[in-house]
């Protein structure tokens, strides 16, 4: 319940306040969001399996975002930024799909 409320509050805050992201960080926002979605789906699946823990979620989320942003940053420095961004999206996308399928099975038994 807390995370859902938090998410809604965050969306409302984001729309109302419109915080401006520094230009330097802008390219990493989409990647950070994909990483956040991965962490969210993983957390929801863990919740359904009854193993969810706040601390692990916080740590996994922050590390996910930082590592994916770092990968893309390094890629940008050596000229393969967009390719590495694709790699990150593909890997996280696979995880998101697998977790979403597991969540669907757990919720609807189908």
């Amino acid at each position: 319940m807390i995370p859902l409320l938090g998410l809604l509050a965050g969306i409302v805050l984001g729309i109302v306040l419109e915080p401006s992201i520094p230009q330097v960080l802008q390219p990493y926002l989409p990647i950070a969001i994909v990483a956040a979605m991965d962490a969210l789906f993983g957390a929801f699946r863990a919740y359904l399996e009854g193993t969810f823990t706040d601390r692990v979620f916080v740590v996994s989320f922050i590390s996910n975002v930082l590592i994916s942003a770092a990968i893309v940053y390094v890629g940008d420095q050596i000229g393969v930024g967009s390719q590495l961004a694709t790699a990150v999206v593909v890997v996280l996308g696979i995880r998101i799909f697998t977790n979403a399928a597991a969540i669907r099975r757990a919720l609807f038994h189908a």
Binding site: I2, P3, L4, L5, G6, L7, L8, A9, G10, I11, V12, L13, G14, I15, E18, P19, I21, Q26, L29, P30, A32, I33, A36, L40, G42, R45, A46, E49, G50, T51, F52, T53, D54, R55, V56, F57, V58, V59, S60, F61, V91, I94, R95, T98, N99, A102
Partner: protein, 258 residues
């Protein structure tokens, strides 16, 4: 593939199981979770806002660029018109300056013979019209499309067949004309062409078409038409009107020594 297998088999952080077994749950963790949820929500909202904001800006930039290109093209047309009128002025001034003695009339004869060949004046007369176009099976294969070299070969073949004047889509060719590709389009005199390509050539109506077909350019285009199924139509025309090449300008002038 081991990496992908592992991602699919273990999509959930293994630490969840470990931490659950240890059973640590704290109030501080709850607050962290709530704060993180707010941050994630804000991230979604900001990213979505930024993307929707950026779209109209990109669109307006694009239309702005298109407008600038069109303006520049209009200006170029105007300048070309001015070049043509100035060239006419030069011609009248030259006739006036030459006077009417024998040497002058000999010079004028030479000018009259050379002007049409060089592309300096508009010409009209019988000739051939060749229409070429990309293959209808417009695939991504660039070999099925008319390339700059194909038009170059075509033009050179027509010169070889003794064409006196050639124009492609209304752009008169001279010895200074460049036929090149820029991006997806073929340009003649740095102006892009739109398909289909109409090549008009003025020459001896009895021999021009036959000599062109027999030349290596004719063989090249036969091959393209048969193997690449490009459009290639050649027909005799009784009357063709070709404009002068506006790129031909007076580059050198001197006072007559008399």
């Amino acid at each position: 593939m081991d990496l992908l297998n592992q991602i699919i088999r273990q999509p959930i952080d293994p630490d969840y199981a470990v931490a659950a077994a240890r059973g640590d749950d704290s109030v501080k963790g709850r607050w962290m979770l709530a704060a993180l949820a707010v941050i994630i929500g804000a991230m979604f909202a900001v990213a979505a806002l930024q993307t929707t904001r950026a779209a109209p800006a990109l669109q307006s930039e694009r239309t702005e660029l298109i407008n600038r290109v069109q303006d520049a093209e209009r200006e170029q047309d105007q300048l070309r018109g001015r070049v043509t009128s100035l060239a006419g002025e030069i011609a009248t001034l030259r006739t006036a300056a030459l006077g009417d003695d024998d040497a002058a009339s000999a010079l004028e004869m030479r000018l009259e013979a050379l002007d049409p060949v060089v592309g300096n004046v508009p010409v009209s007369g019988p000739g051939v019209l060749i229409v070429v176009d990309d293959s209808p099976s417009a695939t991504a294969d660039t070999r099925d499309r008319v390339l700059d070299i194909d038009l170059q070969v075509l033009a050179n073949g027509l010169w070889q067949a003794d064409a006196e004047a050639i124009s492609i889509n209304g752009h008169r060719l001279s010895s200074l004309t460049a036929i090149r590709s820029a991006g997806d389009a073929i340009t003649v005199d740095f102006r892009s062409l739109t398909r289909p390509y109409r090549v008009e050539a003025i020459g001896d109506p009895r021999t021009l078409q036959a000599r062109f077909v027999e030349s290596s350019a004719g063989a090249w285009w036969n091959d393209l038409a048969q193997n690449r199924r490009m459009r290639y139509e050649i027909s005799d025309v009784k009357q063709l009107d070709l404009a002068a090449d506006p790129g031909m300008v007076l580059r050198h002038a001197g006072k007559a020594t008399s």
